[in-house]
């Protein structure tokens, strides 16, 4: 085998450059095709990642713990105690990067102009900062200072719709744990910017203030948490479920099915694009290799006359394809690396305005060429490209020497 490759490799390489124009065109076909597949994968992955990150870092975290029944009826009646025992141990272990308890109930916010439905959330600001990006996205005023902070932080669009402002008061009405309607006035201390949906939905105050409003005592509605690494999440959830079998513990895929669907949909889209591009590339590769074989039928006859076995001729044409497509693959990879490197700070989707939010993406996409994708797609293109040339190679090997040498 080594001897065969040593025999055929230099011959195949030199044969490639007998027709430089054709070789360059084929290399470009493969290179541009692979580049488009990789860039498509990078952009869709970045979009998918952005969609996931936006969801996870907005509120959800990578997983949430609730009392049974809360997800169907998110009121103060369905609440859980602050973690203790084995559950607290796991949340405090190295497996868990951060966790944040919340009181979270459906409520009504009322200004002097308007009344709107919202989700009223009581948070512990220090812990919340480790889970959610919202505390960092304040555009006016300031975020909550502690669990006893009695101010309220609203989304930018909600402030606009309520026609309120920093320093003004709004009234929150919510049902308490016994089903009684409770209300309280809050001073607007901060305004955050996020997706329009989030801005309209979530309002924040100190967790102790919220607990008092809905008479939840020291109980909470949910605990949001992040695993140390994404790969550890399934194991962490299993451990949490074992420690608290009476609680409802779900990952972000279940809690945010739209974001998860976007991610799955994009993966299918990449696969579809791979097939389309490969079909186009295969036509180009087979065409160019078939021409290369037809032009050299006489030479293949000569090689057979000299004693080269037909299987070696098949090998020679196949090695030419391996080299030709290999060069194309290298060009495609290099072009993709350069393209991704051209956006070190990410791609700003600001020009889409709120449109990007509609499809679940954040404002900045961070394109990243994953080594796994690089190897997978390049490998598929390389192997499939070589397989596509086996037909012309087989034709070359089957030609009889006397017939081949009769052609000029």
């Amino acid at each position: 085998m080594t001897g065969t490759i040593r025999l055929l490799l230099p011959l195949s390489w030199r044969n490639l450059w007998r027709n430089p124009r054709r070789t360059v065109i084929t290399v470009l076909v493969v290179g541009v095709g692979l580049w488009s597949i990789l860039i498509f994968a990078v952009l869709l992955n970045a979009w998918s990642q952005s969609s996931r990150d936006t969801t996870v870092s907005l509120m959800t975290g990578e997983a949430e713990i609730h009392a049974k029944g809360y997800l169907d009826d998110p009121t103060a009646a369905h609440r859980l105690r602050m973690p203790s025992g084995r559950l607290a141990q796991i949340l405090g272990s190295r497996q868990t990067a951060a966790w944040s308890p919340r009181v979270r109930v459906s409520a009504i916010v009322q200004s002097e102009y308007k009344t709107l439905p919202i989700t009223f959330v009581g948070v512990s600001p220090t812990r919340e900062r480790m889970i959610s990006d919202l505390p960092r996205d304040i555009v006016a005023g300031h975020y909550l200072s502690g669990p006893n902070d009695q101010g309220i932080v609203l989304g930018q669009d909600l402030v606009r719709r309520l026609k309120t402002a920093i320093g003004r008061r709004v009234v929150i009405m919510a049902q308490d744990a016994t089903g009684q309607l409770r209300e309280r006035a809050f001073q607007v201390i901060g305004i955050y910017r996020a997706s329009q949906t989030a801005e309209d939905e979530f309002t924040f105050t100190g967790i102790h203030v919220a607990q008092a409003l809905v008479r939840a005592g020291s109980d909470v509605s949910e605990i949001a948490l992040d695993a140390r690494t994404r790969n550890e999440l399934p194991r962490l959830i299993t451990a949490l479920k074992a420690a608290a079998p009476d609680l409802d513990i779900q990952s972000w895929e279940t809690l945010a099915p739209l974001a998860y669907a976007v991610s799955t949909f994009f993966n299918s889209f990449i696969l579809l694009w791979l097939w389309v591009m490969f079909a186009l590339m295969a036509i180009g590769i087979v065409n160019s290799q078939l021409m290369a074989v037809i032009e050299r039928v006489h030479e293949f006859g000569l090689l057979q006359a000299l004693g080269m076995q037909p299987r070696l001729i098949l090998c020679e044409v196949a090695i030419e394809s391996v080299l030709l497509i290999g060069v194309g693959v290298i060009v495609g990879i290099a072009a993709a690396i350069v393209s991704v490197a051209a956006f070190p700070n990410g791609i700003d989707l600001g020009f889409l305005g709120r449109g990007a939010e509609l499809v679940g993406a954040g404002r900045i996409l961070h394109p990243k060429l994953a080594m796994g994708d690089l190897v997978l797609y390049s490998g598929i293109v390389w192997i499939a490209g070589v397989v596509a040339t086996l037909w012309p190679a087989r034709r070359a090997a089957k030609v009889s020497p006397v017939e081949a040498m009769g052609r000029n």
């Binding site: 001897g3 025999l7 030199r14 030479e299 057979q304 006359a305 004693g307 076995q309 299987r311 006397v402």
Partner: protein, 233 residues
């Protein structure tokens, strides 16, 4: 002594539409070791067809061919290729060198197919190229060699594997008279000095004049087979 080539009742027919065209008809021919033989005849007489059959490039419609004692008519494509590699050297009218390889690499290529070591390949290629008078031109590719030089490389390539027989099809047809004379002398010298057997399909009288055996084929049959002992120097 066993013949290098033993043909018995060789026939070869081609189909042209519904017509069966006989190219070779019942040829019996033995070529002995060390012979310097020419196979002559008018165009279409069947000499190239017979040479192709002897060289294992074409299969006879009937009869048997043995090269160096090995019956080849029934061999498969791979075994036939292997036999050509080890026992037959070819020199073609159109030189037929591999264009992307230098003179030395063209010679070494056949040896590499045989699995001969790199050092031995180099030594043999240098020897045969020197024998055919091409020392100093080893690294030139065919496009940078004259017709005569290319045909010498082809002869060197045919000799490098130390074949039982060299089959040459119109070896001087594309050469000017000076190059043709040089090539004829070269092959004659190699035949004398190394005892290499040559069978050449030709109608070049200069080649025929130098051969020790002259076979004439007409309409696919051997018309005459003349052995001579006083070919010109």
């Amino acid at each position: 002594m066993d013949p290098i080539v033993a043909c018995q009742n060789i026939t070869r027919h081609y189909r042209q539409g519904i017509i069966d065209v006989p190219a070779v008809q019942g040829v019996d021919l033995n070529i002995m070791k060390g012979e310097f033989a020419s196979l002559a005849g008018p165009s279409g007489s069947g000499k190239t067809t017979l040479l192709n059959i002897i060289g294992g490039l074409d299969r006879p419609s009937g009869g048997t061919v043995a090269i160096d004692g090995e019956e080849i008519s029934q061999l498969g494509a791979n075994k036939l290729a292997d036999l050509r590699l080890r026992k037959i050297g070819f020199v073609f009218q159109a030189y037929n060198l591999i264009p992307v390889l230098s003179a030395a690499e063209n010679v070494q290529f056949v040896l590499q197919l045989m699995g001969i070591s790199k050092s031995e390949r180099r030594r043999r290629a240098q020897d045969v190229l020197s024998q055919v008078g091409l020392s100093g031109l080893e690294d030139r590719r065919p496009a940078r060699l004259s017709g005569g030089q290319q045909q010498r490389v082809a002869v060197a390539r045919a000799l490098a594997s130390r074949p039982a027989i060299v089959l040459a099809d119109e070896p001087t047809a594309n050469l000017d008279s000076h190059a043709a004379e040089g090539l004829i002398s070269l092959m004659k010298d190699l035949n004398r000095s190394s005892g290499i057997t040559f069978l050449m399909a030709t109608h070049d009288p200069r080649v025929i004049a130098h051969t020790s055996r002259h076979i004439v084929i007409t309409d696919g049959r051997i018309a005459s087979d003349e052995k001579r002992h006083n070919s010109p120097e």
